[in-house]
Symmetry: D3
Subunit: 153 residues, 6 copies
């Protein structure tokens, strides 16, 4: 499956980490698919930040507005790009610690199972159990679910 997305990029050297994190928050709340920052070495010994925003075409305008409003940039580069994506399904599974969602994707001939972070983190916090232990339990429950589905075919 292929879809078209927009990549916005701009690098800044006169913003604080606080203000960049706030910009990231605003972008994600307004429909950006993903936002990430990278440390870049710039002229005059400045270690600035490259901000990259990935969004659908109908969100390009609002994301540009936020970048111009919240950052000090005077120029935003953009390009349209193709992206191959996997079909994914969300299911809920039950574990000894409680319920959690898993994301399942069909990948290279088999299903992969990715436990939803927020659900696992919540269970880990309330049970005082290591996060990785919860994630393993959820993954195992996801695999059982998959076995049952296969058996029912």
């Amino acid at each position: 499956m292929t879809e078209t997305i927009v990549i916005l990029e701009t690098q800044v050297d006169d913003m604080s980490a606080q203000a960049i994190a706030y910009t990231m928050e605003q972008l994600l709340q307004n429909g950006a698919l993903d936002v990430y920052t990278q440390a870049v070495g710039m002229k005059k010994s400045r270690n600035g930040t490259l901000i990259t925003v990935i969004c659908h075409c109908d969100r390009q305008s609002i994301c540009e507005q936020i970048l111009f409003r919240e950052t000090s940039t005077l120029g935003i580069r953009y390009r349209w790009q193709e992206r191959k994506i996997l079909h994914r399904e969300i299911h809920e599974v039950a574990t000894e610690y409680g319920k959690a969602r898993v994301k399942m994707a069909w990948r290279d001939g088999f299903w992969t199972i990715q436990p939803e972070y927020e659900d696992c983190a919540k269970l880990a916090r309330s049970h005082h159990v290591p996060l990785t232990r919860i994630q393993e339990a959820v993954k195992l429950a996801g695999e059982s679910l998959l076995e049952i589905s296969k058996a029912n075919l």
Copy 2:
């Protein structure tokens, strides 16, 4: 003013960014003064993560427990170290956008004023105004407060 703090350090190459962020959250909620991560180049082309925890001596034990519980590390380095700190005061100031706290510190012959991020972010979100604009307004209000204090001496 000088105080003694503990620095805990460990590097990992078999953990996800999700699990490291969760560890950071747990450390900060259990009394760590600060936690930061750094990308490190390790053997076998692995770009691992160095985790550094700064805490008071009475929190060393719980922070070590969290590191051993939430990370894959088998060894934690620690050292006690001196830290020079500035005297700081928290005040609340009023702006056209609402109230916010400022942190004031006496530094090299003058007071500096640092607006509290969370207060400013909250005002920025509710007024749909750039964060930096709020921070400037809060800083200005802080400076007025300082002038009044001086005048009253």
Copy 3:
């Protein structure tokens, strides 16, 4: 406002930080709009450097020449890309510390003011005053200038 720019990229693993900084200097002196470097993890545990050059189309040729002359690269990727830019004006303002230029840009419904770094740094050095204090004074003077302009309309 939109303009077309060229992005040149190349990653190196057999150059020193000194030589990369010199390359950056040469690129900026020959018309590159911006140059930045990023630490990248490469094969065989090498932490190399990705060099990105942003320039106008008429500077592409000279920037490529410099990259081929000063770096060890055998291949340079390039792409033409659109960039949205803000209208900006340079003004000079006076402060208690001396004069400095400010860059003003019309952004999302209001003007932003960015003090010119070199002017501020010069004043900070000669007055032995924190750079941020100078920048705040210059910004304040810029805002006064803006108020006067508005009043005169």
Copy 4:
């Protein structure tokens, strides 16, 4: 359990990524416990590299020799430091893909199981199966082993 280790540190700005990776290889072959590099921003817009070596005290001398021989450094900082380490055991487990070793450590009230990377990578390469699938199978086998041990007590 606590042991004393030595930390060696030096930053360089006139070496290539190739030469730094070779230095890392030499250090690990001569008894360093761990070596890692970090990208650092240095004077004159140089993005240099901080090299950190962790070794036992009886390896300090040879590691310093390698750093002085293979890098351009003229100064090496060193400090002795305490490290808390967990008791660990190596076991071999069998999976449907073949045998692999696991490292087991007693941590915060329970055992953790870490599949040996090289064993898993070897199985993944020969079976053309995702590495993470192998690691999960090995971990599961490790857990079964642990259950049996507990039952036998």
Copy 5:
């Protein structure tokens, strides 16, 4: 000389450095021209990894398969891009330490000589001589070879 290449990009936040390094290995063994990783700051305080693959068009499909198989990504961005490359020749030269290959490229009006890393590293290991000393000797031998070629014209 210009050629068309494909750039594949994906960022992950739930993989370990071990698994990313293994992915890199698989990509290079299956025809990728280059692979590099970058530390990126992502949402929720996660320091993830951006993976970039550069390959010829006929390798795009296999590289995408490997990314979908070995990483946790659900989406891969790709673009076709032009790359300017230099003509290069491989020659073998003899030094007092043994033979080594050099890569020669015609660049901006003169030939540059790049000693092959693996050959130099092998000689450095067997002679217990600093790598840089070997590289210098190989480079010098390469320059002599070049002088002879010119004289023979």
Copy 6:
């Protein structure tokens, strides 16, 4: 040869790259031996900066003052540490491009030669020759000087 130095460290998340670069400049002008910055992942998705200053003990006080004056930090960690340093000599050598200084150091049984960057950069700029070509010429001249010294013993 061993000497005692001081390491100052502080991490910031509310400063711009410009202001950090200015701080670095001020520290180096006031006697810091070296200053470097590192990108660090901090709480609340902030990618802050860790600033490290290396200085002699008699410069600790002024460097701390600069950090408190120019950065937003409220706390500076410091430690005294031992550093092994090599004996080094500065010599001037002549090349076809002009004169340049070289730093010579006795290292692991032989002399190493490091061309002075500023001298080489100056020659490269005025001759429009790649920096690396100048550095190689200077290094070669340094080696000849060394051969003559040995012959004269």
